[in-house]
Each structure stands twice: as structure tokens, then as C-alpha cells.
Symmetry: C2
Subunit: 440 residues, 2 copies
């Protein structure tokens, strides 16, 4: 091999996860998986690479520019997946006969988008998608909210708000106001409410969407309605809009069904609310939509979003499969939890470092470590006969809780000297059982 | 959207995992992760996509033909990773200052190889890599064997053999026989022993590697040595070879050190042995090598392999970092466990299906399901008010253990009727506590 060195660097816009972060991410994913399974969802896996034709069935132009698209060695036009929803549509059509009539699945995997790099955003990131396919029942929509709620609580997050809206209501509103032709512009501008404020939304509705001032006022008073006095009061307050359009009535009825289920499941009402300014950009939503923000870090954006998409499989099949689901942005949540100091990061999953006195003692150290592991204590052995001071600084740097040396004296007398690296204390115990009790 | 449908199909050579298989794979990965952590290894993540230059530093021509290599939208020459070892080398050089002097990591992820499709082999598959970087201590090599052993045992596999060899011994052997110039051919042929048998290896050594018959005999008697009477007898038996070459002596001493540690850790000697015919194809091994086969399915090939590579970082840095590690082929193991009937597959992670009587009853059903989940019972709710018979057949097809209807009578009288779907029995219990006890 030549002596010219290759620069060790990650691809532009991509990143590595070092142990402390990767360990936390794994713990979070394990929690999220456990929650999905509680609700009866099963995992599936689809490839990272798909035929471009399959993925672009629903791709917008914007996403097309961000594609990792190329020809493989068999001259196939292929693309790295940019979400897990299009692959899901392909999956349910391809395997229809092998799946239940109701198909509940989650998929945890990486997606690729060649966006311009921004702080905290990378071109490869992990999505935790969960969806219920095959039913129009609002039970599935309510369960989507329950799964977002239960996942975030299980991750130790208390202060979050799941905002709920219904695309039918928004479509009904623009119909009722006679501004259907400007609907896309109106919804796009309304979606910015939390970023740019009411006044600016009003200006843009007039200037960009060309909406008459009195209609702008109606839109503004609608999208700023808030659930300040509880759900019942709110539904009474908005009852007058039901007469504006059958679509609005239908949309509100659906939200009421969802609310009945959320109440029956007894989740905390402070963690969810109706917000008519929530649109969710993606074109495929057709019913209820959900968006979740952390109350203490709203500026980082949505951490769990989704909605109902009743035309999911349209590009693959004449059979129209309804569905509803959401995606938890685990990378963004991880960054948020770090900011909020809700997770402690250490670079090792082990509690104990077994220090090593001499090369001759190595087998005994490994034997001792095996006993600790069998007793449920994650244990690392320092593999070399270095000075004890060096082994102590290694243990400190890595974040071990305890260092134990198991030399000849310890083996003969069966005493265990335990250095607590957090407190600096040294304890001597005389039986293995006592040692395990101390460590557990 | 046009009415022309796109064919729903996975990319040639790739595959989906359906719920039953994906569920099993997740359980296996969770077991393997737990084992790695017991030994103090922490996870890391590297991107699926890397600069081609970074990956090809150690790529052989054979692998280059299998690359998923392309130019991204920024005209960068990029490649999907084909293993996790080259990215590890890049990682340790790039993040050297942030890692411990001893760096123990695992990485579970997918790699891509455009090989010709074969039965059971796909172009994207999952590798569970684990490595100990930064030490020449044989403790790390022994621990690699211990981790393979502990992982397989934790996966419920009892009958496997970890074959251990040392590249130093093989290099010493060809030196001692004066056939160093044919070393690559000799090792390549020796590696085929288990597939083609002793006789054919002998023929190929003569015909393809051009080795003289009397030397062929020496190679053959060496590579067919077996540990039939225990480790001590074996080491006595091979002691005579130590004089053939200092490299052989060094290699045998290293194996003795590993064996001392394996004995101290008290793992079952029937699960490991020395086998001088194990070579491991990859060019980068420099010391002990490991290869694991299932005793009941040897034909599926190695399920966990690795070895010591003391020149890992050579192409990125002047600092030479030694390391040792292995990889567990989880996809191959999953297929094997299915063949051996060592796993049961169901399409749902939930135990209970809550059937649903009427649309009005939906909130009560979801409320009841929430209670079951909080009591630790994975539960799905049937989201529609279908005939009970249909809900029963859904529950059967999906593999639920129990179906519970929670209608008005059940709510008023607090009785729970539990249909055991495996036995066909129906039981009525009268308290929630009793129900949970039955289900747990």
C-alpha cells in the first residue's frame, strides 16, 4: 500500500454518532419500539435502495432535487429512500395477501435527503414511522395520538403539546369562503402562524394569496381559536362553523370522535389541543393531522407529526387503502433532550472496570468479569498490565462508576476492593454476594 | 396523478422483511446488543454513504466490482458502505482524541454488495460488528471469542463451534516449508478444506500452487490436526512445530494465552477448538482468526467470524492502531434459527386483541386497552365495529393469544370474557386484577 494517506472524513452533510450519543439514541429507540409494540404494531423492514420509479410516484419536485439517485451496475435507475411512507405504500400493495386486513406496522430506519446543510440537520437521519393501514375508523387516528403521547412520556418528556387539526375542516373553510382556487396558498401561509405571527399571516393572505380583507379576518379569527376552557367549551364555541360547510361538520365530528377516545384513555389534556393553524405541508394528507412540539423548545420544530392519508396506494393499485400514521424524529429529540439536560451521557454502557495488575493475572480478571456479567453487572476488563493510575484515568474518562482490582491477594483472601469513581470512596467487601448487592 | 399504475416491487436482489421475520430479527438484535454491553462495548453509528476514496483504501478489486458507487448532486464520488470495518478505521482516526485509549465499540447496520443473487443472499444485509481497538493484548482476542460464545448462547443456540487459528502460525508454516512465494495460493486452497476435503486440497496444492508432494503431505497433516483429547494434549502434540519457525512459536503462545482466558471464563470447551485450516479470506488479518459454524447446519457457512488486524488505520494515519473484532451475520442466523425451529413466528407483538362491538363502544374499548397496556400487556384494539366472527378470524390469522370483548355488559358488571385462541377455551373472570394475572 502506498504511503499517501487518505484524509479520514465523513461525507459532506453526513455525520458519525460517537458512543455517548449513540448509546442514548439506542436507549430511546428501544423505548419507542416498546411503546409501538404495546399498541400491537409489528416492525417491518424495507431496503434503503428502491427503483426510482417506485419512490417518485408521490415525489414532489422539491424532493426530486434532493434525491440520491443513480444507475446501479445493472443499469437500473435507483434512489436512496427519502422517507418511509412511499416504501410503505409499495410494501402493502406488494404483500397485500400476507398482511392482516388491518395492518399496523412501525419502521425505524434512515432516510436520505440532499438538503443544504443547516445547524443540526443532516443528509441522513433516522425516522420512527408508525402507521395503521386499512381502516377509516377514527380509532386509528386517536391511537396515533396515543402512541405519540405514550412514546414521549416513556422517553421522560412531560412538557409537550400535540396539536390536532383536520384537513377536511381547512378544505371546508376555503370552500365556505369561496377562496378554493387560492387554497394551496392560503394553507401554506396559515401554516406559518407560529413562526411569523397573526399580523404577518394576515398581510400575506392579502398580498400573496389575494384574499379580500374581510375574508382574511374570518380566516384569522378561525385559525386563532384556542381551547382555553376545555374541550367541551371549545366544541360549543366552534359549533357555529359546522353550518358553513358539510366538510367542516364532518371534520369536527371526526375530531370529536378522536377526543372521546383520548378522554377514555385518560391521557393528560394539557398535552393535546386542537389548532386550526396546523396544516402539515405534505400533499398526501386527507383527514386529521398531528404535530407535536416541546413546550420548552418550540423553536426546534415538530418532533412527532403525521396524519391520515386515504390515497396512499393510489399510484400502485386500483384498490384504495386508507391509512393514518406519524413519524417521530428521533435525532431531533435526542438533540433536544441533551439541551434540556434530560439525559446523562457516558461513553460506556458498563458499570465496572476490572483493573488489571499483571499479564499473568489476565485470565483471573476475565474469569472474575464473567462472574460479574452473569450476575447482571455490565463489566469491562482493562486488557493490559498498565500502571493502576493509568487505568484509573481511563475509567474516569470513560465514565465508569466503579473500578475493581482482582489480583492475587483478592483471589486468595476473597476480598473485593471497590473504588467508587464518583464519590472517590473505597469499600472492601468480603463476599461476592455482598459485592453484587453493592453494585446492583 | 395519472391512472397508469407503477408496479410495486423491490429492487432486484433486495428484499422486504415482513412482520413475523422483522419481529424475530429485532428480538435477536436486542439480545446481541445486550451481550455487547455486558462486555462494556458501546455503540457507534457511521453513515451508509462515504467518500469512495475512504472506502477503497482497503478494497480489493473483487469488492470494487460490487460497489454501489455514484456521483451525488454535489459531484462527489460516493459509495454505499460494503462493510463496517473500513468505516471503523476512518472513524477511529477522525475522532481519536475523543475516544478512550482502549476503544470498544459495536455497530449494527446494513451494508451493500452488488453480488450475483444466490438463494438466501441479498445485496443489502445487516452486520453486527464488534471490535476492540488500541491494544495488542490477547485478552481482547479472547474476549472476542467470549462475545461470540455469549451472544449465540443468549440467542438460544447450544450447538456451535468457534474455530480458532492464528495467521502467524500459517505464515510461519509456509516460511518453514520454504513455500512463502506461494503463500496466498496455499492459504486460499487450505481455506477450502471443509468444502472439498483433504484429498482435493492435496491435489490443488500440487497442481495449482505447485507445491512438492512431500511438502503437501506436511501441510495436510498440519491442517488436519484436531483437538480430540482436550486442549492440554493438543498443545503438547503441536509443541514440535514451535521449533519450525519463531512465528509458529509466537502464534501458538498467543493461542495458549487465549485458551487460558477462555478456561478462566469457564465457557463450554465443546463450543471452541483450534483448526489450522481456518484462514478467513480477507487480507487484513494479522493474528488470531475466528470462524463459527452451527453444528446442525454447517452448510450455511460461517455465522460469526473475525480476527486481529493490526494495520487497520494504515491508510488514514501514520499511527498504527491494533485491533481485533468480529461480525455476527444476523440475517443468516435468523434464516438458520427458522430452519432449526428454534424460533416461533407470529405477525403481532401483542398478546390480546380487544374486539369491538359497536362504534359507540370504541372509546370504552380504547380505554380498556390503555389499562391493559399500563399493566404490561401488549394490546391491540380492533378499530371497527365488524361482526365478531370477522374479528375472531383476524385474531387467528395474526396470531393473538387472547380475544376480549369489552362491551356494555362487561363495563356495567365488570366481568371479562377471555377467549383463549390457542385452546379455544372461554373463561370469565370478575376482577381486573384476576384478568391481568391470567394474562401475565
Amino acid at each position: 500500500m502506498s504511503n499517501v494517506k487518505i484524509k479520514a472524513k465523513t461525507l459532506a452533510g453526513f455525520r458519525d454518532l460517537l458512543p455517548a450519543e449513540a448509546l442514548q439514541k439506542e436507549r430511546m429507540l428501544s423505548t419507542v419500539r416498546k411503546t409501538f409494540r404495546q399498541f400491537g404494531l409489528a416492525p417491518i423492514e424495507t431496503p434503503h435502495l428502491e427503483y426510482t420509479e417506485v419512490l417518485l410516484g408521490k415525489g414532489s419536485d422539491e424532493i426530486q432535487k434532493q434525491l440520491y439517485r443513480f444507475r446501479d451496475n445493472g443499469d437500473r435507475d435507483v434512489t436512496l429512500r427519502f422517507d418511509q411512507t412511499v416504501p410503505l405504500a409499495r410494501f402493502v400493495v406488494q404483500h397485500r395477501g400476507k398482511l392482516g386486513r388491518i395492518f399496523k406496522r412501525y419502521a425505524i430506519g434512515n432516510v436520505f435527503r440532499g438538503e443544504s446543510p443547516q445547524a443540526g440537520r443532516f443528509r441522513e437521519f433516522t425516522q420512527c414511522d408508525f402507521d395503521i393501514i386499512g381502516t377509516y375508523s377514527m380509532g386509528a387516528d386517536a391511537e396515533t395520538v396515543l402512541m405519540i403521547y405514550t412514546s414521549l412520556k416513556a422517553l421522560g418528556i412531560e412538557d409537550f403539546t400535540i396539536s390536532i387539526n383536520n384537513r377536511k375542516i381547512m378544505n371546508g373553510l376555503v370552500d365556505a369562503l369561496g377562496i378554493t382556487s387560492a387554497a394551496d396558498d392560503v394553507l401554506r401561509i396559515v401554516d406559518k402562524l407560529d413562526k411569523i405571527g397573526v399580523k404577518r399571516v394576515g398581510e400575506l393572505l392579502e398580498q400573496q394569496a389575494g384574499i379580500a380583507p374581510e375574508k382574511v379576518q374570518k380566516v384569522l379569527s378561525f385559525i386563532t381559536l384556542r381551547e382555553d376552557n376545555g374541550a367541551d367549551a371549545f366544541f360549543s364555541q366552534i359549533a357555529k362553523y359546522e353550518d358553513w360547510s358539510p366538510l367542516i361538520r364532518e371534520g369536527i365530528d371526526e375530531l370529536k370522535e378522536i377526543y372521546k377516545i383520548l378522554a377514555a384513555a385518560q391521557i393528560n389534556p394539557k398535552n393535546y389541543c386542537i389548532d386550526f393553524s396546523v396544516v402539515r405541508g405534505l400533499g398526501y394528507y386527507t383527514g386529521p393531522v398531528f404535530e407535536t412540539r416541546l413546550d420548552l423548545l418550540p423553536q426546534i420544530g415538530a418532533v412527532a407529526s403525521g396524519g391520515r392519508f386515504d390515497n396512499l396506494t393510489k399510484s400502485f393499485s386500483d384498490e384504495n387503502l386508507p391509512g393514518v400514521g406519524a413519524s417521530i424524529g428521533i435525532d431531533r429529540l435526542l438533540a433536544a433532550l441533551e439541551k434540556l439536560n434530560l439525559i446523562e451521557t457516558t461513553a460506556t454502557p458498563a458499570l465496572v472496570l476490572v483493573a488489571n495488575i499483571s499479564k499473568e493475572n489476565l485470565p483471573a480478571s476475565y474469569g472474575f468479569a464473567s462472574q460479574l456479567r452473569q450476575a447482571g453487572i455490565n463489566t469491562e476488563v482493562f486488557p493490559e498490565a498498565q500502571k493502576l493510575g493509568k487505568q484509573f484515568s481511563y475509567a474516569d474518562k470513560m465514565g465508569f462508576n466503579y473500578l475493581i482490582a482482582y489480583g492475587e491477594r483478592e483471589q486468595q483472601e476473597q476480598v473485593f476492593t471497590l473504588a467508587d469513581l464518583k464519590s472517590g470512596e473505597k469499600t472492601t467487601v468480603t463476599t461476592f454476594e455482598e459485592l453484587i448487592k453493592k453494585l446492583s
